[in-house]
Symmetry: C2
Subunit: 227 residues, 2 copies
Amino acid sequence: MQNIRVAVDAVVFGYANHKLYVLLIQQKFGGSQLQWALPGGLVQNDETLKAAVERELKEETNVSVKYLEQLYTFGDDVHRDHRNRVISVAYLALVDSSNIEIQANTDALDVAWFPVDELPDLAFDHNTIVHKGLQRLQAKLTYEPIGFDLLPQTFLFSDLEALYTSILKKEIDRRNFRKKMLGFGILEETEFYCQQKAGRPAKLFQFKPAEYQRLQQEGFYFEIKFV
Amino acid sequence: MQNIRVAVDAVVFGYANHKLYVLLIQQKFGGSQLQWALPGGLVQNDETLKAAVERELKEETNVSVKYLEQLYTFGDDVHRDHRNRVISVAYLALVDSSNIEIQANTDALDVAWFPVDELPDLAFDHNTIVHKGLQRLQAKLTYEPIGFDLLPQTFLFSDLEALYTSILKKEIDRRNFRKKMLGFGILEETEFYCQQKAGRPAKLFQFKPAEYQRLQQEGFYFEIKFV
DNA sequence: GCAAAAGTGTTCGTACTACACCCATGG
DNA sequence: CCATGGGTGTAGTACGAACACTTTTGC
């Protein structure tokens, strides 16, 4: 008789201060040590996997995501939990973290953003899962315009550029980057300018998803490459 | 109480006659209509997901694969089976089908290769799974040298080319293709020639995985693009 | 000698790379 | 007037795209 539990976990990325962050929680019923973990939990009998992720995120962290895709299913750690074997379907989520109030909801003791480069030891195999999520994000950034899901609706070009360079850990020429991005025709200049920090005011841009879809159907491919 | 079963299914691709094939089985205890289905079955409590796939493939079809990767987890059809909900972790497998004797083993009534373009109605959501597998294969062909896992160890350049054009359904210039492929430096000319069918005899080539790995670590990227 | 498939080079255009100076604002 | 970050153009190069004839064999 099969005795395996099915869980979902979410790697939720946010971007701020020129750094990539992961959303972590401390579970109420953690037992032994209070380790940080990815938000997630068991799937209910009558809900889809995706619905389960969304429910857990709401219950535990109060975020709602801008982008969500299935990442990978981790099920090879046969003894991850000593009572029942658990396999975990991991999801990758992106949020505009500037626009979000996280809070520990009913099921979580605490919730916080951690810079992805400075993670503590996480529960179970969650470090592995985050790593896989980061790899996926890095790969997808180069061939799908998903970076915009980490930014506010209108954003500065310099932020977009910093997002790419910091997540991919590669340098890039500012002029070439701008030329290429604008060349796609999927960005729109707004009439607004940034409330300055210093220096010359910068135009705010926004991503045009509809235009991207249209172009895509014509055989257009988004692609940002670095040396 | 959670009541969900965990299964694995494999999309096994083979290549022959300039066509891509999928390996299908008819299950012994299919119940109602005898539909064709992907090889697969329930995961045992103490085996990894990958081991489960390999076991089922052996039990049902007697193939051993050259390439195996996790594809996607299908779990949103809450009523796929009316007694228990089942989620299925699908794997993508590639075999050198010229070198394989398939046979219905203990658990299968019948086993056969079907051209991927002429599939019957499959059990459950298996048509969807095959489709996803095909998409993944098409994508990976262009940025990883996995086409070789569908070919015999030594092969003709014309076969390699036909593999690409038929799976990706795009034309390509023979000279440019050859130039590019050889330019990578991951192929080796053997001293053998093809037993002719007609025309000028053709050299046999082989893939050098070790050389590919070496280059990869130096930052080399395999990439085959089409218009 | 002809049918069938294999093998091979060059030209052209495009797209990426590298690179440095001026601009607009706030303090 | 200076510090800060924003905005812009050009020249060189390398790579992909297009394209057609010769070679070797079997029959």
